[in-house]
């Protein structure tokens, strides 16, 4: 069971970046007035950020990383590990982590690793990198998490186009002997992998058009069934009372699902921030984006205990209980094409 605690590592700061280009769902073709009104009411998504062709997740994460390194006054050569989480890399190979090691001016002594994860990717990336730091003694590390998921969509697919959006993020982790532990509960179910899939996009010969397809009903029932117990088991594992959690930052899937999960957990609405309205579902970047956009001004003043919960493609889901004390952040960075 992947239910574990990580010691001696903490989050020092987070920055998120989005493309400057904004699209309002009401401007989409092919939707009736009532149909769009119901879609916005149900998903909570009014506008989204779209990366123009040629702008990659690596570009968004790069801009976020630059701001973060500057804000924390980290020198490039100090970063000893870089993990990049994305499903929209620049190339099939090599992975984005190596590209960013060079682009950010990190030393060749910096280890790099790519994780191919979607909506659960922030939690998985945080678990992987913090665990590695705890075991190795690596002092400073960077977690880059982002996707330009809109580049994978069929422009005629009414089930995905109004939902998805693009963003990147950078999270700084430091080794700290006095850090409160982070706790994780990670799960997966490949049996249901067809619920979100891009047939015809990889080495497997399959009939498919190479677009990301989502069985919305299957994903919805998966979220209803799995997310709340995953979080409850996490809190039980670390003997932490739900009422003592300051905020629950969920993957921004859609408002109906997230509200259903919130009610199942009996969490007051003021503890569950949303960025769906402005930014939509930005795949693996929703959690850091929501963390800085909604809670940025609240973090860093006193220690907050935050539950992060990611769930989606894979199927893959996981939650983390993360204490955040000393913390640096800033407003979301807007990135535009050169």
């Amino acid at each position: 069971m992947a239910l574990f605690s990580v010691h001696n590592s903490r989050i020092a700061g987070v920055v998120a970046a989005v493309p400057r280009d904004q699209v309002h769902n009401t401007s989409l073709d092919g939707f009736g007035t009532d149909e769009m009104a119901l879609l916005i009411q149900t998903t909570g998504i009014e506008s989204r950020r779209i990366a123009p062709r040629g702008m990659c997740a690596s570009d968004l994460c790069y801009e976020a990383a630059l701001s973060l390194l500057k804000g924390l006054n980290w020198q490039p050569e100090e970063v000893e590990a870089l993990v990049f989480v994305t499903q929209t890399p620049d190339y099939q190979l090599p992975g984005n982590s190596m590209l960013l090691q060079e682009r950010l001016g990190f030393s060749t002594e910096c280890m790099t690793l790519d994780l191919h994860q979607g909506c659960s990717g922030y939690v998985y990336g945080l678990a992987t990198l913090s665990g590695m730091m705890s075991a190795s003694g690596i002092q400073k590390a960077l977690l880059l998490v982002g996707d330009t998921i809109t580049h994978l969509l069929d422009p005629k697919d009414k089930g995905t186009v109004p939902i998805f959006s693009d963003a990147g993020s950078a999270t700084a982790l430091v080794w700290d002997a006095h850090a409160q532990p982070m706790h994780f509960h990670l799960q997966s179910s490949g049996a249901n992998s067809a619920a979100i899939r891009m047939e015809g996009s990889g080495s497997r010969i399959a009939e498919g058009d190479g677009y990301m397809r989502m069985r919305g009903h299957d994903i919805f029932t998966f979220g209803l069934k799995e997310v709340a117990p995953n979080i409850e088991r996490l809190l039980e594992h670390c003997s932490f009372e739900k009422e003592k959690v300051d905020y629950f930052v969920f993957h921004q899937a859609n408002r109906l699902l997230n509200e259903s999960i919130r009610k199942k957990l009996n969490i007051p609405s003021d503890k569950v921030p949303y960025t769906l309205q402005e930014f939509g579902n930005t795949s693996c970047a929703t959690i850091p984006l929501t963390l800085v956009h909604c809670l940025g001004d609240k973090l860093g003043k006193k220690r907050q205990n935050i539950v992060l919960s990611g769930f989606g493609v894979g199927l893959s889901w996981g939650a983390a209980l993360v204490p955040i004390g000393e913390f640096w952040s800033q407003e979301i960075v807007e990135v535009h094409a050169d």
Binding site: G159, F220, T221, L224
Partner: protein, 77 residues
Amino acid sequence: MYTGYSEFKGIIESVLDAKFVVDLEKLRTWTSMQALIAVSAIDEHYNVLVSYDELASVSTLQELYLLINSKNSDGTF
């Protein structure tokens, strides 16, 4: 636990705004979004998850009600 059909119908009516519903009794006229709203309400009130195939197998609200009653509280996924 709700047990009566009229209560069930009231729950579905309350979550599916009449403005957007073509015909409450004809499930196959529901949009995918309306179906998810109903599925969410059924899960909340009856602790039953209705899969896509199950929803597609019924065509009236009465049939959906009978389906929910026939399922155990663990859902299907």
